[in-house]
Every structure is written in structure tokens, then in C-alpha cells.
């Protein structure tokens, strides 16, 4: 027995935006995490630059990517012929996306606040919180990819 793998053509565009947005979101959170973690590890003047770079990446790349991913997800769900609200994988995806958004907003605020308060020094406590949350977000996104691809029921 084979699984039906071809979806209706009308689903392709929202799926492209959903997956593309998710990839851009993961990539930008990863760039921010690497920049902030590298800034955490060093005490030289590069730390301030890394902090600023990580904070700006969260604000200008990760947040817009999140909205593309999330809006496209609802667009696809609206095309489902049967209600899917109670399916486990839909719930898992929503949980990862919505809880992830709260963490992403907190990480973005604290990292940018750290840049604003002390633009010329190393990470400090606030930016370290931002760095830690970015790592948690990456783990959450791996869970979301697992839920979306394996669709546990």
C-alpha cells in the first residue's frame, strides 16, 4: 500500500510560504544564536559587535519570518476539507509556533534592550538571556519539524 503523497495544487503556494518562512525563521534564529554565543565566549571588542548583530538579526529577520510561516500555516489549514483542529500534529505545531513566538519576542526584546543600554560592551545578563532563549527556540523548532513531517496521531 502506498501513501497519497500528491496534494491539491491549490495547497502549493501556502505550503511554499509556510516552509520557506520556517526555514528563514530557523536560519535567522540560528545566526542570532551563533552571534550571541560567540559574543558570550569572548571579552574582546568583537563581543559588542556580535551582541548588536545577534539582536538586530532577531528583530529584522526572525520576527518577519515568523509571521510569514504562521500566516501561511493558517492558510493551509483553511484549505483542509475536514476539521483538523483536534489532530495531535496540528496541536503540536500550534504549540511550538505560539510558545516559540512568546520566547522569540522575549529574546528579541532583551537582546535589543542590552544593545540599547550598553552598546559598547560585551553581552551582559540581558543578552545572555537572549542567547539562551535562542538555543531553546532551535530545540523547539526541531520538535516542530518532527511534528510536521511525522504527523503523529
Amino acid at each position: 500500500m502506498t501513501v497519497l503523497l500528491i496534494r491539491p495544487d491549490s495547497w502549493n503556494l501556502p505550503l511554499l510560504l509556510h516552509v520557506g518562512g520556517a526555514m528563514a525563521l530557523v536560519a535567522s534564529v540560528m545566526v542570532a544564536a551563533v552571534a550571541l554565543l560567540q559574543g558570550w565566549r569572548t571579552s574582546d571588542p568583537a563581543a559588542a559587535s556580535l551582541k548588536r548583530f545577534g539582536a538586530r538579526t532577531l528583530l529584522y529577520a526572525a520576527i518577519p519570518s515568523y509571521f510569514v510561516m504562521r500566516i501561511a500555516a493558517e492558510w493551509i489549514l483553511s484549505k483542509e476539507p475536514k476539521p483538523v483542529e483536534n489532530l495531535t500534529w496540528v496541536g503540536d505545531g500550534r504549540l511550538a509556533a505560539d510558545a516559540g513566538f512568546v520566547l522569540l519576542v522575549i529574546a528579541t526584546i532583551v537582546a535589543n534592550l542590552a544593545v540599547r543600554r550598553d552598546p559598547e560592551s560585551g553581552l551582559g545578563k540581558l543578552a545572555k538571556v537572549g542567547a539562551s532563549l535562542s538555543v531553546v527556540l532551535i530545540a523547539l523548532y526541531v520538535f516542530a519539524v518532527w511534528a510536521m513531517t511525522t504527523k503523529p496521531s
Binding site: 500500500m1 502506498t2 501513501v3 503523497l5 500528491i6 502549493n12 505550503l15 511554499l16 516552509v19 520557506g20 520556517a22 526555514m23 528563514a24 530557523v26 536560519a27 535567522s28 540560528m30 545566526v31 551563533v34 552571534a35 560567540q38 559574543g39 569572548t42 574582546d44 571588542p45 568583537a46 559587535s49 556580535l50 548583530f53 538579526t57 523548532y141 526541531v142 519539524v145 518532527w146 510536521m148 513531517t149 511525522t150 504527523k151
Partner: protein, 145 residues
């Protein structure tokens, strides 16, 4: 039997998609390095991002093709001779070559202190376009029955 086949397909799809995400993440790091290198202020930042990109790119691209081919062989609906799969493999090779050149260039800058490659931004744009076309190919599957 159905369940185990379904499980196998799902696991392979998860590994394939996760590898693709890793590739895109490395491409994001490549782009961040190119953008950071454009200003003197952020050039030190670029050097700090290069090691992560140099690790993620080869791992992500290698695993994406391995699990992608495995997926095509595993499922009877797919064949390695399908036009959209051949196109994806050709595009993957093009992307791999561009990413390999970018990674090597950034390694030179990091280890030998060489100047930034002036073509890095153009190569980054070419890599992003290639990855975008692969994604479109994977989702629209042109020619699939």
C-alpha cells in the same frame, strides 16, 4: 506492514527536511558573514560566524542528498528518474559547489587573514536563488503524476 512503511517514510522525511533546514541555516550564516564583511565595524563578527557555517554546510548538504535519495528509493511513488528529482539533484550539485566555494573563501579569511572575496555577495545571492528553486521544485514537484 502499512504502519511500518508509513513510519519509515515519515522518519526519512523528517531527516531529509531537517538536513535541508541545516543547509538553509548554513546559507543564512554565509549571508550574514557577507553582510558583516561589508562594514569595517562588523568585520570581526564575520570571522566569528565562519566556523559554524563551515561545519553546518557540508553536514546539511550531504545528509539532505543522502536522505532525499533514500526517500525516493523507499517510496514506490517516486523514482530517481523523475524529472523533478533529477532537477533537484542538479540544483543540489550547483548549490553545493557555490556553498563549498563560499566556505573555502571564509576559511581563508579566518585562518590566513586574507581580504574578503569581492564576489561573495553575488555568490550568496546565487546560493539563495538556487535553494529557493530547490524548495519550489520539492513542493510543486513538476511532472509528478
Amino acid at each position: 506492514m502499512y504502519r511500518s512503511r508509513r513510519m519509515g517514510y515519515s522518519t526519512l522525511l523528517f531527516l531529509h527536511v531537517t538536513s535541508a533546514f541545516t543547509m538553509v541555516t548554513a546559507a543564512g550564516l554565509f549571508l550574514a558573514i557577507a553582510l558583516a564583511q561589508r562594514s569595517e565595524r562588523h568585520s570581526a563578527t564575520a570571522l566569528r560566524l565562519a566556523p559554524a557555517a563551515a561545519v553546518l554546510w557540508p553536514i546539511g548538504s550531504l545528509l539532505a542528498i543522502v536522505f532525499g535519495v533514500w526517500l525516493a528509493l523507499h517510496d514506490s511513488q517516486y523514482s530517481l528518474g523523475d524529472g523533478w528529482i533529477i532537477a533537484a539533484i542538479v540544483l543540489w550539485a550547483i548549490g553545493g559547489a557555490i556553498g563549498g566555494r563560499l566556505g573555502a573563501g571564509y576559511r581563508r579569511v579566518t585562518s590566513a587573514g586574507a581580504g574578503a572575496d569581492p564576489s561573495a555577495l553575488a555568490l550568496n545571492l546565487a546560493l539563495i536563488v538556487t535553494l529557493l528553486v530547490i524548495l519550489i521544485d520539492m513542493i510543486y514537484k513538476p511532472g509528478a503524476s
